[in-house]
Symmetry: C2
């Protein structure tokens, strides 16, 4: 038998989400989260750089998925085509059966500006890395940054639609629809006025 229970991080994350959802984010102290799984506050902060971070665990996996998608795109793909491929890979990380969990998490985030701030920041980190991957393919500036930010925007819009009540399409389907809409929007301008 091990000295420490394994999966400490995960238990802290689960406990935190539950406490935030039931009592509210500000009304829950880091020490309470830790104690609720038999640990101390100090240990909480060894696993998470700050209190908000406990809700933002899987960002590396998301980033990697986007990058994998970009790198796997055919050599002759345009930047937006590569972004489309990346979105297909990334949205694959969110199968339909994790919708309830995502929804709960989002209701917590939506109730606290500090958490929204962190979420935006995370997505912006993802966008930066996508930009790097595009530049590595030889895409120039500002095209690489524009395409990367567009990917992040499309993902964000699709994700928030995905967790709406009554929405039944998969995240991937929604994402493709949003990307198509972006194409129409920016590309289909009429003749100059």
């Amino acid at each position: 038998m091990a000295r420490w229970q394994p999966g400490t991080r995960g238990r802290l994350q689960d406990a935190a989400l539950e406490l935030f959802a039931s009592r509210g984010y500000e009304q829950t102290t880091a020490a309470e989260i830790a104690r609720s799984v038999g640990l101390t506050e100090r240990t909480f902060f060894r696993h998470f750089s700050d209190k908000r971070e406990v809700l933002f665990g899987g960002q590396e996996r998301l980033t990697e998925a986007f990058v994998r998608g970009i790198e796997a795109a055919p050599d002759d793909a345009t930047p937006m085509e590569a972004v489309g491929d990346a979105l297909d890979v990334a949205t694959g990380l969110f199968p339909d059966d994790m919708r309830p969990h995502s929804r709960l998490r989002q209701t917590v985030i939506d109730q606290h500006p500090a958490l929204q701030e962190r979420e935006r920041h995370k997505m912006s980190g993802v966008a930066t890395t996508i930009g790097d991957a595009l530049r590595a393919r030889g895409v120039g500036e500002p095209a690489a940054t524009l395409a990367a930010e567009s990917a992040s925007t499309v993902f964000g819009i699709a994700f928030s639609q995905w967790i709406q009540d009554g929405e039944s399409r998969s995240l991937g389907d929604i994402s493709r629809a949003v990307l198509a809409e972006l194409r129409d929007l920016t590309g289909a301008d009429r003749a100059p006025r």
Copy 2:
């Protein structure tokens, strides 16, 4: 003679930027900023909801400029045309002679993740309001959000280019160039592969 010095907010902002730039953000306490202009920490937090906020004053003006631009766009303008008009109005808030100030402020922000987080959050608030203005014109979803986020992205890219060393174009000129690039990027996809 008035009982209190007028312009308290402004003096705090100026002092904060100066102290952050010279000593670093974390090494500067809110109490120090306040004392440096003859006030107390408590008063600092009456003027700014948190320590970071002292660097983010003019967001309302930026938001209003964008909205003004959207509302002033011709009735038959496409969403992206309206966004282009809004960018022209908004970039007008940054004449060339405030480049040094913007640059200094940005060097401070760039050195601290907590400040970058706040900056992203502010821009995302701007984007949300632009989206509202577009929806008020009858633009649907997700087009309104996409166009609004695109406006914010273009502004962000243009702004960071504007304060690069050696850059001499006006913010408006850069912004129009970036917007054109976005149009090319998303619109000019070749035939399907």
